[in-house]
């Protein structure tokens, strides 16, 4: 259907629209018009992605600026879904407009997922694929080949050079699969095709880290202009991604490997000295001029992304004491040895970067400044030495990155040395955590660089948390409720077992046989009454493992086998994928199955359990983080001191967003239905922290149920859901046709008019002084509307 928001014509690829989709698009447009940031919480399964894409593509195509869209999502599955939706949208636009628009959209994922090289793609680890890919595609390798040396090149990559550099793939939308197919047909590398076509795309869909990883982000800024629209979809976990991108762990093992890497480097340098000393000299003179000049190689030749460097650092010359290759290597070795001695300590230490640096200086005379250049210097050296088996230097690179990070940031980071794996362990296994506490650091450049950043997800409550944690201001914050013609999902809090004993996953009672049995009975009872698929989420892997073993011992699993197949998320991703497929097959086949997985695990991100793939979702326990973790404690302290966020508020917010995320997995569209069970007595008090659309649907009477009551309620609900429900039953209520939309707009205009007139009347009536203001408001009535909107939003 086609409709207008203000003057913007929007082509929406369905004949109907959900009211919340319309509201979402209106707010999006306001944000874009205002060139500001926004936080929007849209109920799961109400077509967030398609609304977002329809509006932004319409915006791009209609206004002369043609603002580019950078759409970031968490996982490859979600990237692929967004690409598929975009592809369908563009097909619809072409049909409606009668011509094909000049439009390009590509997605990007790791080399591992996009590789076609027959042997490289077989590698199991992503890092090895990266390294082997570089050894086949780097510029110097090609130079060697041209000199007649016997080196191997990747034919898929080489073929790209035969094509026009701005037209490696034809215009249009390519899904990742589609790009692979195209690459296979035309014998060209999908990864580099996408990578090099990025500047020519109207829409780019890739994962967060391309924007959040500081070094890549730095490069991105060169490619993309300020008025790009940046969208972080499924952004409920964005703070953790930010933190992850700047945190690093160092173990004894990695230090050992780093030493080996440094020794290798030394050998290589000596070899090169005897054969090609000129190259090293060249590098040296370049480094005098500054790092930016040194960085002239093609960007994909980059060794590994480096942490953020302040602008002035890039212009500065590299400090003299690490400019020579051999000096730099011995410098690195010294630093590694220092770290090794630090690891020998047998008690836990946590210290700030400045204190660490002072200690380094006292012991080894290593200054802060050369440390800051470590990562860049190593990259440059590796490039000069033309190393091929780069994966050997990975641990060394980690140490260098650590050195750079620790010497660059004073605040928002902490070093924690844990000599033992756990409290009970007696054999030391030390780990040095360099942990980022402030999510704002990684994302700050994004907010500074781009004018419109949209943070959106199905679960962002409470909305004000995100601007606070990530340090930005919004022009729009909104949480939408869900209009429903029938109660299509049933959220319930189960606080007691059938024996009236309280259930909870709190540490004191979680392994209590009575609690475990009660949890088992919930799963068993629901497997008895629920058709097709059930998804069970546990708060952690450890608890899932122990509870499943206990259920087996109690014979609960044996009883569940009578109703459903049982599948479990495993440590191995491939094995889990297969389990997931089996689960879906059993759901389709009518056999029915239960999938047990973890609230923060692999399955909870990016995999949907819509329709018969999930008729019930059971959250066993509140998915709190491991509260004994020192890293978490440090972060909580930081949040309290810096952002005035109380510990318990944050912990509870964090647990509830993950719980809500799990619940939202079972819905897609309003014809879908599902039971949502929150099984823990602590949910009763926390339910207000659920997103609006879930907490509104929860009846007061269903917040303190025992297992048998919950089962009876769910049975009733499922029976109701089995009644025929036609699309026309919800017409005009939870779905709008074009006519409904028009009616709504008319009503809205009338309402606005009325409000304006009333405001005007009031102004006239109360006192004369307001007259001037009212008259002024009359002239800028649009602003008033916006203000009113903002009031509503708050």
């Amino acid at each position: 259907m086609k409709f207008f928001i203000d003057d913007l014509p929007i082509l929406f690829p369905y004949p109907r629209i959900y009211p919340e989709q319309y509201a979402y698009m209106c707010d999006l447009k306001k944000t874009l018009d205002a060139e500001g940031h926004c936080v929007l919480e849209m109920p799961s399964g109400t077509g967030k992605t398609v609304s977002l894409l329809s509006l932004i593509v319409a915006y791009q195509m209609h206004y002369p600026e043609h603002r580019k869209l950078i759409y970031c999502s968490r996982t490859m599955s979600e990237i692929e879904k967004a690409l598929a939706e975009l592809k369908a949208l563009m097909k619809y636009r072409t049909e409606q407009l009668g011509y094909t628009e000049d439009f390009r959209a590509l997605g990007l994922t790791s080399r591992k997922n996009l590789c076609l090289h027959p042997s490289v793609r077989r590698e199991k680890s992503g890092t090895i694929v990266d390294a082997r890919c570089r050894s086949l595609t780097a510029g110097f390798v090609k130079e060697k080949k041209e000199k007649g040396e016997d080196v191997e090149l990747c034919v898929y990559h080489e073929n790209l050079d035969l094509l026009e550099p701005h037209n490696l793939v034809p215009p249009g939308v390519f899904t990742l699969d589609g790009l692979l197919k195209y690459g296979e047909e035309h014998k060209q590398c999908p990864y580099f095709s996408a990578r090099r076509m990025m500047p020519f795309c109207n829409v780019i869909i890739y994962s967060y880290h391309y924007l959040l990883d500081p070094k890549i982000a730095e490069r991105v800024s060169r490619e993309f202009s300020k008025d790009c629209i940046v969208v972080f979809d499924e952004a409920h976990n964005i703070d953790n991604v930010c933190i992850e991108s700047l945190s690093i762990d160092i173990t004894e093992d990695s230090l050992r490997k780093a030493t080996r890497g440094a020794n290798n480097l030394e050998r290589k340098i000596n070899e090169m000295k005897s054969s090609d000393a000129e190259k090293l000299q060249n590098e040296y003179s370049k480094l005098v001029e500054g790092l930016r000049e040194a960085e002239q190689a093609r960007e994909e030749d980059q060794f590994i992304s480096n942490p953020v460097l302040p602008d002035d650092l890039l212009k500065e010359a590299v400090p003299g004491n690490i400019r020579r290759a051999e000096h730099f290597v011995s410098f690195l070795k010294r630093f590694i040895e220092y770290l090794k001695t630090r690891m020998k300590v047998t008690h836990t230490i946590s210290e700030t970067p400045p204190s660490f640096l002072t200690h380094v200086k006292d012991l080894t005379y290593i200054e802060r400044k050369p440390l800051r250049f470590c990562a860049e210097r190593l990259t440059s050296l590796v490039r000069t030495l033309e190393l091929i088996n780069i994966e050997d230097y990975q641990p060394l690179q980690e140490v260098a990155t650590f050195a750079t990070l620790v010497s660059t940031y004073d605040k928002g980071f902490l070093l924690i040395l844990e000599p033992f794996e756990s409290e009970a362990a007696t054999v030391p296994n030390p780990v040095l955590h360099f942990t980022c506490l402030d999510a704002a650091i990684a994302i700050r450049p994004v907010f500074e660089r781009f004018r419109s950043v949209i943070i959106t997800s199905g679960t962002l409550s409470p909305l004000e948390m995100y601007p606070k944690m990530l340090g930005f201001t919004t022009v729009m914050q909104e949480s939408y409720s869900m209009t429903l013609a029938r109660r299509s999902f049933l959220p319930m809090v189960v606080t007691r077992g059938s024996d009236q004993a309280q259930i909870s996953s709190s540490f004191q009672i979680r392994n209590d046989p009575g609690v475990v049995r009660n949890y088992g009975n919930i799963v068993l009872e629901f497997s008895r009454i629920t058709p097709d698929g059930i998804v069970v989420f546990f708060p952690s892997y450890l608890y899932m493992e122990s509870i499943i073993s206990m259920w087996q011992g109690m014979g609960i699993l044996d009883s569940i086998w009578n109703y459903k197949l049982i599948l479990v998320e495993t440590p191995d991703a491939q094995e889990s994928s297969l389990a997931l497929e089996t689960y879906r097959t059993a759901c389709c086949n009518g056999r029915g199955a239960i999938l047990m997985c973890v609230a923060r695990g692999k399955v909870s991100e990016g995999i949907d359990f819509d329709h018969h793939y999930g008729r019930a979702v059971i959250c066993i326990g509140v998915p709190f983080q491991y509260t004994e973790s020192r890293i978490l404690k440090a972060r909580l302290e930081f949040l309290r001191e810096t952002y005035r966020i109380r510990e318990n508020d944050f912990l509870s917010f964090d647990a509830m967003r993950h719980a809500a995320q799990c619940l939202g997995r079972v819905l897609r569209g309003k014809d879908d239905y599902g039971v949502m069970v929150l099984a823990d007595k602590r949910f009763q008090k926390k339910r207000t922290q659920l997103p609006k659309w879930i907490s509104q649907a929860m009846l007061e009477s269903e917040t303190n149920l025992s297992t048998d009551m919950a089962v009876a309620t769910a049975k009733n609900f499922l029976r109701g859901m089995a009644q025929p429900f036609k699309a026309k039953d919800q017409d005009g209520i939870s779905t709008w046709s074009l006519a409904d939309l028009e009616r709504h707009r008319q009503k809205q205009t009338l309402e606005e008019e009325r409000v304006r007139r009333e405001a005007l009347d009031n102004g006239h009536g109360t006192n004369g002084a307001a007259n001037g203001g009212a008259a002024a408001a009359d002239e800028f009535d649009d602003d008033i509307d916006d203000d009113l909107m903002m009031l509503d939003a708050q």
Binding site: L542, Q552, V568
Partner: protein
């Protein structure tokens, strides 16, 4: 050419390795000990051949054999050492060449479904295998000819559907003699292919298997732990746990059957298969514990393509340069042997679903998203109601079929109405209202209901509302309705059989069914336009004649039955008269059934028969005329 053979040693025993005459197997016969130690390896099961290089003085041939139902990765190996001295190399080469040619042939033959050779273990094919082979030769129910020819299937369908069976038997008995049984069968089934197909599919559907180990629960009786296990359960255990089959195979002659199972259910192996953690206190078993190390899980398809929407592995490597602190203690996995249950659950579920076509497309299909995958992410309720996909069925000139009924006076009237021009009626009506109704809105009610029909010559119909005649008419209508109602709610034994006795009614339905059957066949043959079927047609017309006669016979019987009832009532009335001197009112019309009922029921059929015969005659006459004209 004689099959190649050579003297070779197996396990240090001398013997002869010979290719069989039909190249289907290779066997080794020991020189000493006669045929007892003979090894026969079917070519179809050989997965690999290895031979020592020509430079090596030792000449050995290694044959990898994968018995059916054995796990994919555990082929058995046989090493034959050729002992013919200088001749060894040539002998070995000859055998190897012949063998590889035979393997090649067997492999290409396997592309076309050939039943796998019966497994040597004698346990019979697993249901999984049976199902798989049923799937591979899926044409069973796609091929109409095979369905028609499958007598066994037809018998089973008849057995499951008594109505159909009765109709079949009746038709078979009354079929024209000119029709052979075979012809009749093929005709009968040709119109019921869909039933056969549905039945074939239904039969091939089997109940899915279940996790058998979880259902076995020992119970304690008189201080003795007992456990019953059925043959099916054993078979399921063997299917779900090939390891148990192996253990059973290798040990059962030594142990007795009962011994084996009782030891098995108490063993660590059983616990392990159930996914339970082993503890030190578990009883040990000298024989069964040997198998504890065997890996049951090694057989998973490893390089399956997973759609991107579900690809957890792809998600994990989405960011290859991932940093970050390691996960918290509770988010780390334990070693798999600590929690064996998790892998057991998955592999069991996978085994149970192994025979079902995957929901997410063929896992081995090449990468690429198909339409279905995309459809999955669409919001279905926003798409609106799907338009019903109907095929309009046009029947031209329907009145022809029902022309016989238009004799009815009501229909006459309808026809009269149908002939009138609605527009004219409407304008007439409007004119009348204008004329008859005064402008002030008052009007005599009677004139509205039964307006005077000026100029209408049917003055006799001109009745006033409230007149005696119309009152009578309306009360008659009401009584009719009540009578109808009563007839419908009447619970006498003859309800639903229209006054016929149930045996007669049954006969009638059967007659009806067979007649319809013959009509069906007649029209098929008649409309086929196939001159070869002319002979068949005439015999069918004969059977139509006979069908008519059968109906008549039933009619007569029904009438006779009714007459009996009539006589009985009359006799009863007479008796009453004699006894009481009062003459009871005899209502003979209330006796239903008889000829009238049969005609009422069979009317359309009789008409259809007549039409068919008339058509045939007309066509025959035409044909004759043409034939004589030539």
């Amino acid at each position: 050419m004689a099959p190649p053979s050579g003297s070779a040693a197996y396990k240090k025993k001398d013997g002869t390795l010979t290719m069989s005459q039909d190249c289907q197997s290779i066997s080794w016969i020991p020189a000493a000990g006669g045929a007892t130690g003979t090894i026969t390896l079917p070519v179809a099961q050989i997965t690999n051949l290895q031979q020592t290089p020509a430079s090596n003085p030792k000449v050995m041939l290694k044959i990898f054999v994968l018995p059916p139902n054995a796990p994919e990765n555990s082929p058995e190996q046989y090493v034959f050492n050729f002992t013919a001295g200088t001749n060894a190399r040539t002998e070995a080469d000859a055998i190897k060449d012949a063998l590889s040619a035979a393997i090649q042939a067997a492999k290409t033959a396997q592309a076309a479904p050939t039943p796998p050779p019966a497994p040597a273990t004698g346990e019979g094919m697993s249901t999984a295998m049976a199902f798989a082979s049923a799937v591979s030769s899926k044409s069973t129910w796609d091929d109409d000819k095979r369905l028609k020819g499958d007598v066994e299937l037809q018998q089973s369908l008849l057995k499951s559907d008594p109505n159909l069976q009765r109709m079949f038997m009746e038709s078979l008995h009354t079929k024209p003699d000119t029709l052979t049984a075979g012809q009749f069968m093929s005709q009968f089934w040709s119109t019921r292919i869909h039933l056969l197909r549905a039945h074939a599919i239904e039969r091939s559907q089997t109940r899915g298997s279940y996790n058998v180990l979880s259902t076995l629960k020992p119970r304690v009786e008189d201080n003795v732990t007992k456990l019953n296990i059925s043959k099916e359960q054993i078979q399921l255990i063997f299917n779900q746990h090939p390891l148990v089959r192996r253990v059973y195979d290798e040990n059962v002659p030594k142990l007795s059957e009962a011994q084996f199972w009782s030891r098995f259910f108490q063993s660590r192996l059983f616990k392990k298969l159930r996914g339970e953690r082993l503890s030190e206190t578990d009883a040990t078993d000298a024989i069964l514990d040997k198998y504890l190390q065997a890996d049951e899980h090694g057989n998973l398809p490893r390089d399956a393509h997973v759609p991107n929407f579900l690809d957890l592995e792809g998600n994990e490597v989405n960011n290859s340069q991932r940093r970050g602190n390691r996960p918290d203690l509770d988010m780390r996995w334990s070693a798999p042997d600590k929690v064996p249950i998790i892998r057991t659950l998955n592999s069991l579920s996978e085994k149970i679903m192994a025979n079902v076509a995957a929901a997410d497309g063929d896992p081995h299909a090449p990468a690429g998203m198909d339409e279905d995958t995309y459809n999955e992410i669409q919001l279905r309720d926003l798409l609106g109601d799907e338009e019903a996909n109907l095929v309009p069925l046009n029947i031209r000139d329907q009145s022809r079929f029902f022309s016989a009924q238009t004799k009815d006076s009501e229909d006459e009237q309808n026809r009269l109405f149908a002939q009138q021009d609605p527009e004219k009626i409407l304008s007439d009506l409007r004119r009348e209202i204008d004329q008859n109704l005064p402008d002030d809105g008052t009007a005599p009610l009677g004139r509205l209901v039964e307006p005077d029909e000026f100029g209408d010559d049917e003055k006799k119909n001109n009745q006033q509302p409230g007149s005696r005649a119309s009152l009578q008419k309306s009360s008659g209508q009401i009584l009719d309705a009540i009578r109808d109602r009563r007839a419908q709610t009447d619970v006498s034994s003859t309800t639903g059989t229209y006054g016929l006795s149930s045996s007669l009614y049954d006969r009638l339905t059967l007659t009806h069914a067979t007649t319809t059957e013959f009509l069906h066949q007649f029209w098929q043959a008649f409309l086929s336009g196939n001159p070869d079927r002319a002979g068949e047609l005439s015999s069918l017309v004969d059977s139509l004649h006979r069908a008519m006669e059968r109906i008549k016979a039933v009619t007569q019987d029904a009438e006779a039955e009714r007459q009996v009832e009539v006589d009985r009532r009359k006799r009863h009335a007479r008796e009453v008269l004699e006894a009481t001197g009062k003459k009871p009112r005899l209502n003979l019309t209330s006796i239903q059934g008889g000829e009238k009922a049969v005609h009422q029921l069979m009317g359309p059929t009789i008409q259809a028969l007549e039409t068919a015969q008339a058509k045939y005659k007309a066509a025959l006459a035409e044909e004759m005329k043409e034939a004589s004209g030539q």
